[in-house]
């Protein structure tokens, strides 16, 4: 049984269900639960739903401390860049305590934030910062691309005993899709093949999955069969599923909204260059944002972003190359 839901609503549904299931789950952030009319506040009360000031270091740090001592906080951070003012808490506190304590302490906190909002928000609000977190041992990073994944991964993020950065993509907020009814958990660390194909593997996350699927559709009309793999979590990264796909197709195009050297694409490229090299019949091709900050004006913003045309072109270019390795 499934029903149609929007991506944003699917996330909210998972939070509500987990809060109903487990009284240790609490939820707070800026600009939420302002009045008694707030539906979450009505449901769960002032103890568990809280309004926080613009104090990300304290907000996240408090989430960590609360998690260390028995709660399972979800911290609503709105835009992922706002974590940067508190970045020590994210990458040098939350993921360290379990390890530094020799396994005594657990930090089950979820840091929820939207990202990649390329809609005229300019240089400081439109970025993709997952690359700064996906390689931190002890930290999990989730980037859902569909309403069903959004729900299933949020459920698992809340239940996970590790700090989890849950990054939802702003441009997908209103996208609709089928979501299984009732409890629905997707394990963290398992990629999903969003489209089967045989000629080329496209790996993409979040908004770029949507663009890649659209590109694959266009390619199909030209007789090119593209497989689209969505890692769904960048940490842990399911290298195996990606390499399996490359084994089948022999070609890899990586699509990433971030500039090249701050992308997840380069990390995946590195893994495949090591573990899937033998299957590669053409160079890996990365379709990333152009190396600039995000400009305000629309034509420039569009210019820097990956899009269907660029993906189609990249796929064709790797298909044009026959086994080139000397």
């Amino acid at each position: 049984m499934a029903r149609e839901m929007m991506y944003g609503d699917a996330i909210a549904a998972a939070i509500i269900e987990e809060m109903q299931r487990d009284p240790n789950v609490i939820f707070y952030g800026q600009n939420m639960g302002m009045t008694e009319r707030d539906p979450m506040l009505k449901k769960f009360g002032r103890e568990r739903v809280r309004l926080a000031p613009i104090s990300e270091t304290a907000e996240i740090g408090i989430g960590i401390g609360a998690a260390m001592t028995g709660l399972r906080p979800i911290v609503e951070l709105w835009m992922s860049e706002f974590m940067l003012v508190a970045f020590d808490q994210v990458i040098n506190e939350a993921p360290r305590f379990h390890y530094m304590s020799g396994g005594q302490v657990k930090v089950p906190v979820v840091l929820k934030a939207g990202f990649g909002f390329c809609a005229g928000w300019a240089g400081q609000h439109s970025n993709c910062i997952y690359h700064t977190m996906m390689g931190i041992p002890g930290l999990k990073v989730v980037v859902p691309s569909t309403p069903a994944d959004a729900k299933g991964l949020m459920t698992s993020s809340i239940r996970d005993n590790n700090p989890v950065v849950y990054l939802h993509h702003y441009m997908l907020t209103l996208d609709k899709g089928q979501v299984p009814e009732g409890e629905y958990a997707i394990p963290l660390g398992v990629a999903d093949v969003k489209r089967l194909g045989s000629d080329v593997t496209i790996v993409a996350t979040a908004w770029m999955v949507k663009k890649s699927l659209a590109a694959a559709e266009r390619l199909a009309q030209e007789g090119i069969s593209a497989e689209v793999v969505d890692p769904r979590t960048l940490a842990p990264l399911d290298v195996k599923t990606i390499v399996e796909s490359v084994k089948k197709t022999g070609r890899l195009v990586l699509v990433d909204q971030a500039p090249r050297h701050s992308s997840a694409a380069t990390v995946i490229a590195g893994e495949v260059a090591e573990h899937g090299f033998e299957y590669l019949r053409a160079p890996i091709k990365m379709v990333t944002a152009i190396d600039s900050s995000v400009p305000y004006s629309e034509p420039m913003e569009n210019f820097i972003l990956p899009n269907e045309d660029k993906i189609v072109q990249a796929v064709k270019s790797v298909l044009a190359q026959q086994t080139v390795a000397a």
């Binding site: 009319r37 000031p53 613009i54 240089g123 400081q124 305000y296 004006s297």
Partner: protein
């Protein structure tokens, strides 16, 4: 300099003129969400309600003093003489914009007019302004810095760290905490410990042993008086001060956050939309600094109705011209995006 009586008629008229120019500009930006849907992208924030505070503060400014507010930044460069044409074109993302379309509403910058730039990340610009104060001190150029930031920003670590350093280094900075009573959708009384206790936010000055005071931010002359003292202190090398200027944001926080292709729109004020408290909004509309100062100047015979109207008409014409200029300006070419990555 700090007494109302000493203020010449010209200065009073200058203050009113700048207030009106800001108000007209912001109204035009707000209207553009109806008249040109989708033309302003991202998030735009208006300064209506802040006019008395901005102009009262900057009326104490010497020609090379620097001004560094947050992302709600339209009002200040208007006072500094930045051409409205360029400002409006920037807000519309045009090639002839102040920042050539790279920055938009949140990131106006006009260093030639002593307006080095703004940040959209809360509280961070307080540190930048403090750094401008360091430049002023090291270069001994006789400048001071006016640093503006919100009530919300005063809960960000950057605020506390910066004021401590400015106090220890005795930097020439005047910190103006613009308490417009809202942090986005949150009333300040819900998130500030001073406010929860019924204390003014200027109490935070005690954490740095610097002067702190709270002033009526709807009265440009009251603001001017308080800021004068702080500015003189800064000029004399005695270090920073903290002034809480209390007024009311008259429009909503900013346009609704929409996912494209939905066009951006401007919503109702949070007092009504979130808190269902229309009375609060009406109460503060009655204290609107622009008509209030107008009445006062007319009452004090500094202005006549006719002269006031001339000022308002001129501002309206200037803004209309700016709007036409902006709309006529071309979009930047896509591939310009790769410029200015490195200096």
């Amino acid at each position: 300099m700090s007494k109302k009586e000493e203020l010449g008629k010209d200065k009073l008229i200058w203050i009113y003129t700048q207030m009106v120019r800001i108000r007209e500009f912001e109204e035009a930006v707000k209207n553009a969400f109806i008249e040109h849907p989708g033309a302003i992208r991202g998030h735009a924030h208006l300064g209506d309600g802040a006019e008395a505070s901005i102009v009262g503060t900057l009326s104490t400014r010497n020609p090379t003093d620097m001004v560094m507010p947050s992302y709600r930044c339209h009002g200040y460069p208007i006072v500094l003489g930045t051409p409205l044409r360029k400002m409006m074109a920037e807000i519309f993302g045009r090639k002839d914009g102040l920042c050539k379309g790279y920055g938009g509403s949140m990131h106006l910058a006009d260093p030639a007019n002593h307006f080095p730039g703004t940040s959209g990340i809360i509280g961070q610009s307080i540190a930048h302004a403090t750094g401008a104060g360091l430049t002023a001190q090291v270069k001994k150029a006789g400048q001071i810095v006016y640093c503006f930031f919100g009530d919300g920003a005063s809960k960000q670590g950057a605020f506390f760290e910066s004021l401590n350093m400015a106090a220890v280094w005795k930097l020439p900075v005047v910190y103006v905490l613009e308490n417009n009573q809202y942090q986005a959708y949150t009333h300040y009384s819900l998130e500030d410990a001073n406010a929860v206790a019924g204390d003014p936010l200027s109490n935070k000055a005690a954490a740095f042993s610097i002067p702190g005071m709270t002033v009526d931010g709807t009265d440009p002359l009251a603001v001017r008086e308080a800021v004068s003292v702080a500015a003189e202190r800064a000029r004399a090398g005695q270090g920073p001060s903290l002034i809480e200027s209390k007024f009311y944001r008259l429009s909503a926080h900013g346009n609704v956050i929409t996912v494209p292709p939905l066009p951006t729109q401007f919503p109702e004020h949070e007092a009504v939309a979130v808190y269902g408290n229309r009375a609060e909004l009406e109460e503060w509309k009655a204290k609107d600094p622009v008509p209030k100062f107008r009445s006062r100047l007319i009452g004090d015979a500094v202005l006549t109705e006719g002269k006031a109207k001339d000022i308002e008409d001129a501002a309206r014409a200037e803004v209309k011209d700016a709007m036409q200029f902006a709309l006529a300006s071309p979009m930047p070419a896509p591939e310009e995006a790769i410029n200015y990555v490195y200096a």
